[in-house]
């Protein structure tokens, strides 16, 4: 049974802002850079260091530590061992507990990906940390760390505080915060930490991993998104996105149908996007979907149902079949190429 180390007694001893660097086979998940950028602001405001935590195998053969420093970290902690590749919750959890006990961070930021949420939920327990899920705002208010997160499917915004426990942990979905540009001139310290986990103590074994290129829809200026109304045919959406130099996205239901890859899902359990233009085609406008695209500058809706909630959440809409409307849009922009900025 995992023992519990209650840290509430020594809050004062805890300092620094940590970011969990999510990496697989040397590839760092983008959300890590977004967290380093947000973590930098928090660390500056608190007058503390920003620490990047990397676990994996042969990290010294990658430029991950240097990249973390260029992206804002003052210090990089590396736990390097074959037991950490690929990710598994049990060895990662044990190692994290040890690091928290020995280094005592005040705040820890973790990406709200499947890996990050699997990790965060596991490690918050033995450290008796407060863990706030899916934060969309992280602020220091009068010296107090305040985490804001949507609840009830996005209808409400809750402010969560963690007054008596450290670290104060937060997960953040990809795309919520912008990533800062790397600055190769920044200085930082790199420290290898003691590995306290042994393969013999693990309870899990990764038998197989099939991972391809992960699409990144969070930086696109134009997003053409489809839902169940696409009825299995995303081809017109791809064509329009291509023409407008945008990315294709989808609702969770369309992803579950297997019409499009999961990395393109927008919403509460997917990505957050805030493009200049979001075209929602055949999407009803469920609250869990809106949560991931409501900050888009302009929203366009195409839906056969005039009462679909998406129309209340769109700037311009048309009642119609997307398989007619989108080809007409494609035709319009093919004829009016000057309407598309180079």
């Amino acid at each position: 049974m995992a023992a519990t180390s209650d840290t509430s007694a020594d809050i004062e001893e805890h300092e620094d802002v940590w970011v969990f660097v999510e990496q697989h086979d040397g590839e760092v998940a983008n959300v890590t850079w977004e967290l380093l950028s947000k973590g930098r602001d928090l660390a500056d405001e608190r007058g503390e260091n920003l620490v990047a935590l990397v676990m994996g195998e042969n990290i010294d053969e990658t430029d991950i530590p240097e990249q973390c420093i260029a992206r804002g970290a003052d210090k990089v902690l590396i736990a390097d061992d074959p037991v950490f590749e690929p990710y598994r919750s049990d060895p990662y959890g044990e190692q994290f507990r040890h690091l928290v006990e020995t280094h005592k961070p005040a705040i820890a930021l973790i990406g709200g990906t499947h890996t990050g949420r699997d990790f965060a939920g596991r490690v918050a327990v033995p450290t008796h940390a407060g863990l706030t899920a899916d934060c969309t705002e992280l602020e220091m208010e009068d010296g107090r760390y305040e985490m804001r997160r949507p609840a009830f499917g996005g209808d409400a915004l809750a402010t969560i505080i963690c007054p008596e426990h450290r670290p104060q942990m937060s997960t953040v979905r990809p795309g919520v915060f912008p990533a800062a540009e790397p600055d190769a001139d920044r200085d930082g310290e790199i420290e290898e930490v003691e590995v306290v986990v042994d393969e013999a103590d693990t309870m899990t074994e990764v038998l197989e991993r099939e991972v391809g290129d992960v699409a990144d829809i969070t930086d696109a200026d134009v997003v053409v998104a489809g839902g169940m109304g696409a009825e299995g045919d995303f081809e017109p959406l791809w064509e329009l996105a291509d023409l407008l130099d945008g990315e294709v996205a989808a609702t969770r239901d369309a992803v579950e149908e297997g019409w499009i890859e999961p990395a393109r899902q927008v919403g509460q359990t997917g990505k957050t996007v805030r493009p200049k233009l979001y075209i929602a085609a055949g999407i009803s406008g469920a609250i869990q979907h809106l949560e991931g695209m409501d900050d888009s500058e302009t929203v366009i809706a195409i839906n056969t149902d005039p009462n679909a909630p998406i129309f209340d959440n769109a700037d311009y809409g048309i009642v119609g079949d997307l398989h007619e409307v989108i080809p007409e849009l494609i035709e319009y922009f093919q004829e009016n190429e000057e309407a598309i900025p180079a």
Partner: protein
């Protein structure tokens, strides 16, 4: 284990997501009159638990922590085919965040001598997804989250899961006991059989356990919860033009304007 596995499935009562709405007049959150239902992703958890029982034998016990009327979600699970149900109900649990919530469920799972504990991906009300990994961590058990498919290996006391990870999937073998969080929508939950449903709603009475029964009366509730809800605001609806046009060309011109 010739007599199969002890399977526990965690189900939570939540306000019906379709009833939680923003009042268009006041802009306020309307959830007081929302009906209490079983968390939608938990149907997938129950289905997975029943499928596993069909495969390896054993029993499925539904487990819920909540107010006395949360027995309704246990009845849903029993109606679908769960063998039994246990309700963790005690004013002492009030205000628990995910840390004590997962502790209570973890202790109950131990008490039930669980081999596999199922949960949903996340809830539709506070949607942290932290409870299943929390249960595993409290008990020092393996965890498998975002699960798409399961394969049982009773001869090895192992469960193998296909997990959804960024950009693909992985297959992970875990030693029992293990906590599984099923991905939402990954299976087709069976409807309740008529006779089972009648039994669930009439004769079936869940056992109720208190914090003291679990020996955790000092470790649950608001006071020991590391996180606290410091305030709640209605999310302001983003102001939109809400203009519906008749012709695709008009729509195209609006798009061109943005570009």
């Amino acid at each position: 284990m010739t007599d199969g596995w002890n399977i526990v499935v965690c189900v939570k009562q939540v306000p019906d997501a379709d009833d939680v709405s923003i009042d268009p007049e006041t802009g306020r959150l309307n959830r007081s009159d929302a009906e209490a239902v079983m968390n939608a992703p938990d149907y997938n958890a129950v289905e997975a638990a029943l499928e596993l029982r069909d495969e390896v034998g054993g029993t499925v016990t539904a487990l819920s922590m909540g107010p006395p009327n949360a027995d309704a979600v246990l009845r849903v699970a029993v109606g679908m085919g769960a063998d039994d149900g246990v309700l963790l109900s005690d004013p002492a649990f009030g205000g628990s965040d995910t840390w004590p919530t997962s502790l209570a469920l973890a202790r109950a799972a131990e008490e039930l001598d669980a081999d596999v504990v199922f949960g949903g991906e996340e809830t539709t009300d506070s949607s942290t997804g932290q409870v299943p990994p929390g249960i595993a961590a409290h008990n020092g058990w393996a965890q498998l989250t975002y699960v798409e498919e399961l394969e049982s290996r009773p001869e090895e006391d192992k469960l193998v899961a296909k997990r959804d990870v960024e950009g693909g999937y992985e297959r992970v073998a875990a030693e029992l006991p293990v906590v599984v969080a099923m991905g939402f929508g990954e299976n087709d939950p069976r409807p309740a059989g008529l006779h089972r449903k009648i039994y669930a709603e009439t004769d079936f009475e869940p056992e109720t356990w208190t914090a003291e029964d679990l020996g955790i009366e000092d470790e649950v509730g608001l006071a020991v919860s590391p996180t606290q809800v410091g305030g709640m605001d209605t999310a302001d609806p983003v102001p939109r033009e809400q203009e519906v046009v008749d012709e695709t060309d008009e729509l195209a011109e609006q798009i061109a304007e943005v570009l």
